[in-house]
Symmetry: C2
Subunit: 500 residues, 2 copies
């Protein structure tokens, strides 16, 4: 049995290597590839992805998993090997259920649809995108049907990003939180508004970059094993534990975007670097889910980076680097500026208090589309109605409304809720951390982040993909994903800032 | 048959894609990878190389090649398909002849030997490297024996880099040229020496870089499909026709190194970009050989870049960029400086007149080692004896002598002669080009390189790997590889500079 397990691990390590190579192909395409390389890069990605898929879904892997079932049953269920076998069997079942013809049709459709969406958005024409989105929804329904029976047809899609989570669980959470968030931003709207004009003037791009580097170096970002590059869309990638990379975007007149974006990606990268080295080159060498990953990035970006204590430490340095922009702005005014609440049309620019509402809107529409309760042609109206209801504003056009996100054009239905779940989990974890590290605010005020990082490594990072998100939260915090901590946080923080 | 050919091409395209991914892994490792990524990168390279090898040497490929033999016999022998089948059959035979155990032993040995060589060189201890080199020579002899019968046991090694070329052919060429080159540098040594002290002072690194970029942009380096990065050891790589990249090294006090290095790598890149697009993603999407590739890089570096006409155009710009360094240096003095002849210990620093002698020395020693006429333990003495004979100098230690090159530690025996063959071919082609483009010197003097590049594309680049080097030279110049043109060039150029 040990031999069979070793053989399985060998194949899984090879598959890991191939996916690491595809991640580098992607990183290079975003960071450095000359434009005319796109066609060749598409071929390379297609070839490597196909090889990895064929290797992983081979009969040999299926046979090994079958043979190892009795062995797995004898193991400590929390051991690395037991968890590896469980997760691998789960992936294997998912990947082998999808017929090759559907995989090919899907790859072709989403590639074409992405191009159509780009054009449709720039021309503000939902009608052009509509037939492609209809086809995408149709194919996603066929895909989900492969995994029947289920409570909701949306379950298999959600499960791709948040293993084990049910649609009904997410709906219950969001139904609790939505009216509270709507009420909060209405209350804020009635208060005197915050001035953040000093965050919309010119800041030297190189100094913006350098300041971001200073901050994440303090967080524990290790430049011996990581790097940072510039891209149009920031992201984090990893090619194994020894090589994790982030990218950042700098706007000359929007310094907060680069700084908080850098902290956000650093949060992802710290997760990727904190895995137990025993998990490297295995399917468990990843985060527990996209939502748990987002809990880490959001924690460093918001709970650390947008806290008053953080700027008690860093603000003198900001004023030193940017005397003409910040010299006459008080710490208090700066703190209020970076935490300004203002309902806006675009999700990626949303503040902490409004962000989740953008997500809930998308989740509800996706579920309705999948369940056949909403037709694609009616999507723009449904979008605008909910925007008015949740955020009090209506997009003047579809480009800034239903066409704003890239996700659907690439077939990513089931993905959005992970952003909001990450916000919720970040606070659930934070309340536990505050119990365990009683002087955390004082540490942050002194620029010390080591105890926080150690806690995260011990409780979250090192486990990699061993536990599904609900199980992980239960183990660490004593309860499943819950919105209570997040609402307490919003009420207290913004209650103070806006004098509610 | 068309179906079988299409299937073969499909597999070859996949293999091409995998190798393109390994080339990116290598490029990234040299340019951007953080240090701790090395172990993971080694795994990724090993996995992808193994997959490409297994895919290419599969029974399916063997069967397709067999089935297609009668079809190939009916094709125009110069057609793309006929040449593709011929080259593929050749690679297939080579790759399948080597037992998997030998491949594995070789990979392990050369990896270890490289580390040992690095240490041995820094400690100036040939004794430490000796047992590893003995094992390498032994394994290379076993490898060559797989391809018996042959005229020389060195033939199969040479053939890996210069397809079709025989050891006896290279020896005949080098035996002709060696005494002439030795006599030339002795004559030069008796003349007043050239002053190039103005090339050994500080030049702003960024301006050095920018000037190199200006030059190769004029050569026709297209930044839409290429890029340039900094590495410790300059190289050129390609991931298909649409994405060719060069790297350059800048020394603050040695501007000529960066400038001529940039032109050299640009020469390689222009070859890679000039292939007929029909050959992309096939085994013919490469140069005819390493030697032919080197003829292109050497041509742009030396025949263009170190010519008087070139600097008639570019020198005013150099003086403008570097007024304090070059303001008081005449064009004539600058031209003499960049063409200074001076026998030196290190191959990579050698000038045009002495370079080939470094190569001949290595080739003779490699042949003697392979034929069992020289023991590895006697290699340092044999090295020093030849240095004295050919260049008139003796290394004070092995680090600057027999241990100076990385090649042998990586198992690259058979490689060196391609450098000298490239020099010879560059002049053979150049004489033909001078006949075909009668006003080439005037064009270069006006900074115009389009006609030259067009000629190279038409006669060399577009063919990719369709023709073996001897056949290519025969077709283009009317004779096989020959040293006559090169000696005429050296005699005339250096006769003038040194007043011989």
């Amino acid at each position: 049995m040990e031999q069979k397990l070793a053989r399985l691990k060998e194949i899984l390590a090879e598959v890991f290597d191939i996916y690491a190579a595809t991640a580098l192909l992607e990183w290079d395409q975003q960071c450095y590839m000359p434009p005319s390389g796109a066609e060749g890069r598409g071929n390379q990605q297609a070839t490597l992805s196909r090889i990895a898929h064929v290797r992983f879904t081979s009969d040999e892997v299926g046979q090994l998993l079958d043979d190892l079932k009795p062995y797995a049953a004898q193991l400590d269920p929390d051991s690395d090997d037991a968890r590896l076998l469980k997760a691998t069997a789960r992936h294997y079942e998912k990947e082998t259920k999808v017929p090759a013809t559907m995989v090919a049709e899907w790859a072709h459709l989403t590639t074409v649809a992405h191009g159509v969406w780009t054009k449709a958005r720039s021309e503000n024409s939902f009608a052009h995108f509509q037939p492609y989105l209809e086809k995408i929804v149709d194919l996603r329904r066929q895909y989900a049907a492969l995994f029947a029976p289920y409570e909701s047809i949306y379950d298999p899609l959600l499960d791709d990003f948040e293993p084990g989570l049910k649609t009904s669980e997410v709906q219950a959470i969001f139904n609790t939180i939505r009216p509270q968030q709507v009420a909060l931003i209405q209350a804020i709207a009635e208060r005197p508004q915050v001035d953040d004009s000093f965050l919309h003037i010119a800041y030297d791009p190189q100094k913006q970059w350098d300041f971001g580097v200073e901050i994440i170096t303090k967080f524990g970002y290790d430049w011996n094993s990581r790097r940072q590059d510039k891209t149009a869309h920031p992201f984090t990638t990893a090619f194994g534990l020894g090589d994790v990379r982030i990218t950042t975007r700098i706007y000359p007149n929007l310094p907060a975007s680069g700084w908080f974006g850098t902290m956000h990606e650093c949060g992802h990268a710290l997760y990727g670097m904190g895995l137990d080295p025993r998990l490297d080159r295995s399917p468990l060498a990843r985060g527990a889910s996209l939502g748990v990953h987002e809990s880490q990035s959001r924690m460093w970006e918001n709970l650390v980076g947008r806290s008053y204590e953080f700027w008690q430490y860093f603000y003198p340095r900001s004023q030193e680097l940017f005397p003409s922009q910040l010299g006459n702005v008080s710490l208090e005014a700066f703190y209020r500026g970076i935490n300004k609440v203002s309902p806006s049309l675009i999700r990626v620019e949303a503040d902490e208090a409004t962000y989740n509402l953008h997500i809930m809107l998308r989740l509800e529409l996706e579920i309705a589309l999948m369940e056949g309760k909403l037709a694609v042609k009616d999507l723009p109206d449904a979008w605008n109605t909910r925007m008015k209801e949740y955020l009090g504003i209506v997009p003047p056009n579809d480009a800034d409304g239903v066409l704003q996100d890239v996700h659907w054009s690439g077939g990513l239905i089931g993905y959005f809720s992970t952003y909001a779940l990450g916000n919720l989990m970040s606070l659930q974890l934070w309340e536990k951390i505050r119990q365990d590290i009683s002087d955390l605010p004082e540490q942050i005020r002194s620029g010390k982040f080591g105890a926080l990082l150690d806690w995260l490594r011990q409780n979250i990072h090192r486990h990699g993909g061993k536990f599904e998100p609900q199980e992980l939260m239960q183990r660490v915090t004593g309860s499943k994903i819950d919105s209570g901590a997040y609402m307490r946080y919003l009420q207290e923080k913004y209650g103070k800032i806006y004098g509610l």
